[in-house]
């Protein structure tokens, strides 16, 4: 255990500053200089160029405000793609247009009403595709890129629209879609780029290194502010949706065929998503949103090894604030067995940090 004043998470800080520095390099370029040489422009262009070919334009059924177009993200070379569940998939046929302008038929393999996701197969092989990344490394303030076919302005082999923004926070939605409640209650990613436009849902959210970290959601209106809200599902939800398919029901589709990246070694994907053991028991009583006090620490558990004690208040995980027991639990669901997390703890008057390495759930 070390003192927090050492500065937690200095690796992230450096990465953040390096990104700023990279952007700086682009701006410093003098007028008239060849900007193709600027490293930042290259980093961003490289991310865009790498991801664009994996975005397929989809055309299907549409009625009035349900637009008959959207996009999907190819996740395997043999044509598996994920997209947002929408009416366009429910017609007699779905037409997919690949990045090079080729037109093919798409078939729907599986639907997920809760997450509003669908898995489709596009005819073709050796297709460019994206690997599923991880969203938990995104920090508020990180630049993000989003892609989709806004107002179906791109057709044939034309590149879809790319927008850039800044990641704001991970939260839950309280939203409506038209007159109906939007039921999805899991985590979503919010950012300042405007993606709540027709044709964007199902497109990829990328970090500035071009990693696939989320899938753009449908057009919704916030219950609290009555304004349109742009959001993305964390890519972990996509991964969980794909993993469910391997446990029996529906299409032989196949999370195992799907390449994944992130820090977790391959094959561990299925173990992610709430299947860690820490040995921490949190206070559950009292107010509706109690602060994340540790009630008990199991002996010889990962928490005990990290030096956690009863009555510690857990303030933050990897620098991201945990405002309540519920919030901390949701964060825990994204922990990976064997991968260290840095906890910021209040004990008495002291602020401390502890590195905890969770075990796999028994």
């Amino acid at each position: 255990m070390r003192s927090a004043s050492n500065g937690m998470n200095s690796g992230r800080a450096t990465e953040f500053l390096m990104r700023l520095a990279v952007i700086a390099a682009a701006l410093l370029t003098a007028p008239g200089a060849a900007r193709a040489d600027a490293p930042a422009a290259n980093a961003q262009s490289a991310a865009i160029e790498a991801a664009l070919p994996a975005v397929v334009k989809l055309y299907g059924a549409g009625i009035s405000l349900e637009h008959g177009y959207g996009v999907g993200v190819l996740i395997s070379a043999d044509g598996l793609a994920v997209t947002a569940l929408s009416l366009l998939l429910e017609g007699t046929g779905v037409r997919a247009v690949l990045h090079d302008g080729r037109e093919t038929e798409a078939t729907v393999l599986r639907r997920d009403d809760a997450r509003q996701l669908a898995l489709i197969r596009v005819a073709g092989d050796h297709l460019p595709h994206l690997e599923l990344g991880t969203s938990d490394r995104l920090l508020p303030g990180d630049p993000i890129l989003a892609m989709g076919n806004t107002y179906k302005v791109a057709e044939g082999e034309e590149a879809v629209s790319v927008v850039r923004g800044v990641f704001s926070l991970r939260t839950q939605l309280a939203a409506r879609r038209r007159k109906q409640v939007y039921h999805y209650r899991g985590d979503v990613l919010l950012f300042d780029a405007i993606t709540c436009n027709p044709g964007m849902a199902g497109g990829p959210l990328l970090d500035l290194d071009g990693r696939f970290v989320g899938m753009l959601g449908k057009i919704v209106v916030s219950d609290r502010t009555n304004t349109y809200l742009s959001f993305a599902l964390p890519v972990e939800e996509v991964r969980a949706f794909l993993a469910e398919g391997t446990n029996g029901a529906g299409g032989s589709a196949t999370a195992t065929q799907v390449a994944t990246t992130g820090d977790a070694p391959r094959g561990e994907t299925a173990a992610r998503g709430g299947r860690v053991y820490t040995g921490i028991r949190l206070f559950e009583l009292g107010r509706r949103k109690p602060a994340a006090y540790v009630d008990r620490v199991a002996p010889d558990s990962p928490a005990a090894r990290a030096g956690l004690k009863s009555d510690d208040l857990i303030l933050a995980v990897d620098g991201v604030q945990a405002r309540s027991t519920q919030e901390l639990k949701r964060m825990m669901e994204r922990w990976t067995p064997g991968r260290s997390v840095s906890l910021t703890i209040k004990r008495g008057d002291q602020i401390l940090t502890a590195d905890l390495v969770p075990d796999a759930a028994p």
Partner: protein
């Protein structure tokens, strides 16, 4: 934060912080430098509506959207507020309803700051951009609003309405633009003008930014600038043929008008179109989007494939009809009609006369000065003439010698006695002494053009009876590039193209002259020397 290397508990190295600060101040400096080039456009004495514009030269010429100035009507006056807080008188020059572009000029005693023109063809997807203008007319002091974002899409096509406001081969941006931004500049991060912001995606929303904006590309606007300056209304181009996707990435001619120049050049039904001005053609829609961004009559180079044969064709694009001019509503009491704004009519003849004069000024500077030119009364040319298969090819050359004299005043009222070569000589020599105040019945700017990749301006020289001559100058340098007219003998088009400009006595004259009859090369002359004769 500026004083402390701490950043929410993170530490940065001094070098990293230095880079970030330098980037910030570069951007701030860029905005400070560009803001004075932005214009807030209003109707005269009225702040209830308006748009934006950007100055592109020291004479006060600026670009905006057609839809911004269309409501100004006749007599084409408005106000242009600059960041110095002054609202300068604004006059509308030429406009381009189909491309949604218009040119204006601010009247100012001092020279105004202006933005350098950039190259939208070099813009890449994801590049950063700055938009400036007057969204929601917030700039009471004419200090423009600045927004920052990226290029979201390239080569977009957005249909217009009633033959106007088509955005073809345009830029899509997520840089925030709103009502009032119309006509304002889109800059790259080198501070160069790459587009004019004009349109936003608003489906299902109010008229506000939804993260999807469109800018007319500078590549398109550049071709229209000569005509816009000259106060002309320029129609857009069409191929004169319909095209189809014969297969994936295979564009072919479906039907072609026999009256089109493309037909004249040899384009036929079924021909595969491989490229247009060096841009590889991949779909019929792409070709339609590209062609619509050209002005009518613009010269293009098209590579085609017919069976196993590959050919390169050069021809002029056809013209699309202009949108119907807005008309006064009928059945309105005369009293009210007087109060209503008169819709914009066609050509601004004052601007046309000014541009004619400017062209002469440039031409005289290029040829060696007004006085030196006016002193010449004729010349003797010693040349070697050849008739190669293509310009520049080797062929047997014969020595020729010809003496030409400046025509007497009033020659242009009856040129019946002149053959083609004599008419060319008369026009060239009379150009050495152009009128100081050209009259519209004598000279006018006809259109912009491109000759050998150089932006050009075409003037029409009225010669009676019905032998009008088109004289083309380089738009920047004023160099004489071409003289064209209908042949007296053969009846078809005849044109002379000039090059290799070098000193000849007191003047700088072309030492290559190529003659075409009916678009076919007739002969090419290499002029060895001129013997200049002063005016008597």
């Amino acid at each position: 934060m500026a004083d402390s290397p701490q950043f929410e508990g993170f530490t940065a190295t001094p070098a990293q912080l230095e880079m970030v600060r330098a980037a910030e101040s570069t951007r701030v400096d860029l905005v400070r430098q560009l803001a004075p080039t932005v214009v807030c456009i209003f109707p005269p004495g009225n702040r209830n509506g308006g748009g934006s514009g950007v100055l592109i030269d020291a004479e006060g010429h600026g670009l905006t959207n057609y839809h911004v100035i269309a409501s100004l009507g006749e007599p084409r006056r408005g106000e242009g507020g600059c960041s110095d807080g002054v609202a300068y008188p604004l006059e509308v020059l030429g406009f381009d309803p189909a491309g949604d572009i218009a040119m204006f000029r601010l009247t100012s005693a001092s020279s105004l700051p202006f933005a350098p023109l950039g190259d939208s063809a070099a813009v890449r997807l994801g590049d950063e951009s700055l938009a400036m203008g007057n969204p929601f007319l917030l700039a009471e002091d004419f200090q423009p609003t600045v927004t920052f974002g990226i290029i979201s899409g390239l080569h977009r096509y957005l249909a217009g309405q009633d033959r106007s406001l088509f955005y073809t081969d345009c830029l899509e941006i997520n840089t925030s633009i709103n009502p009032g931004n119309s006509g304002g500049p889109l800059f790259d991060m080198g501070g160069r003008l790459i587009g004019i912001n004009g349109r936003i995606g608003i489906e299902e929303r109010g008229r506000v930014n939804v993260g999807v904006g469109y800018a007319v590309s500078m590549r398109q606007i550049r071709r229209f600038i000569p005509a816009l300056r000259a106060g002309l209304v320029t129609p857009h181009a069409t191929l004169g043929a319909t095209v189809m996707d014969a297969a994936l990435h295979r564009v072919a001619v479906e039907q072609i008008l026999e009256s089109s120049d493309a037909w004249r050049a040899g384009l036929r039904e079924g021909d595969r179109l491989n490229s247009l001005d060096g841009v590889a053609l991949r779909s019929a829609n792409q070709l339609a989007s590209l062609v619509a961004a050209y002005p009518a009559y613009w010269p293009v180079t098209v590579e085609i494939e017919r069976g196993a044969e590959k050919r390169t064709l050069h021809f002029q694009l056809d013209d699309l009809p202009l949108p119907r001019a807005p008309r006064m509503p009928r059945d309105i009491p005369e009293q009210m009609q007087k109060k209503m704004i008169k819709p914009l009519s066609g050509i601004n003849w004052d601007a046309n006369a000014l541009e004619t004069r400017r062209t002469f000024d440039r031409w005289l500077a290029a040829v060696g000065g007004r006085e030196a030119a006016a002193s010449i009364g004729g010349w003797k040319r010693f040349a070697r003439r050849a008739a190669p298969a293509a310009p520049g090819d080797r062929a047997e050359a014969a020595a020729i010698e010809s003496a030409e004299t400046a025509p007497p005043p009033g020659w242009d009222r009856d040129a019946r006695g002149l053959d083609d070569d004599a008419l060319e000589a008369a026009v060239r020599l009379s150009l050495l002494n152009p009128p100081a105040e050209p009259r519209r019945a004598e000279w006018q700017v006809l259109r912009g053009d491109e000759v050998g990749g150089r932006l050009a301006i075409v003037l029409s020289r009225v010669v009676q009876p019905r032998r009008d001559v088109e004289v083309t100058f380089d738009f920047e340098s004023g160099e004489l590039l071409r003289i064209a007219f209908q042949s007296a003998g053969e009846g078809g088009p005849r044109r002379y193209e000039y090059g290799d400009v070098r000193a000849a006595g007191a003047l700088r004259l072309p030492h290559r002259r190529v003659c075409f009859v009916d678009h076919a090369l007739k002969h090419e002359e290499r002029i060895e020397r001129y013997e200049l004769r002063t005016r008597d």
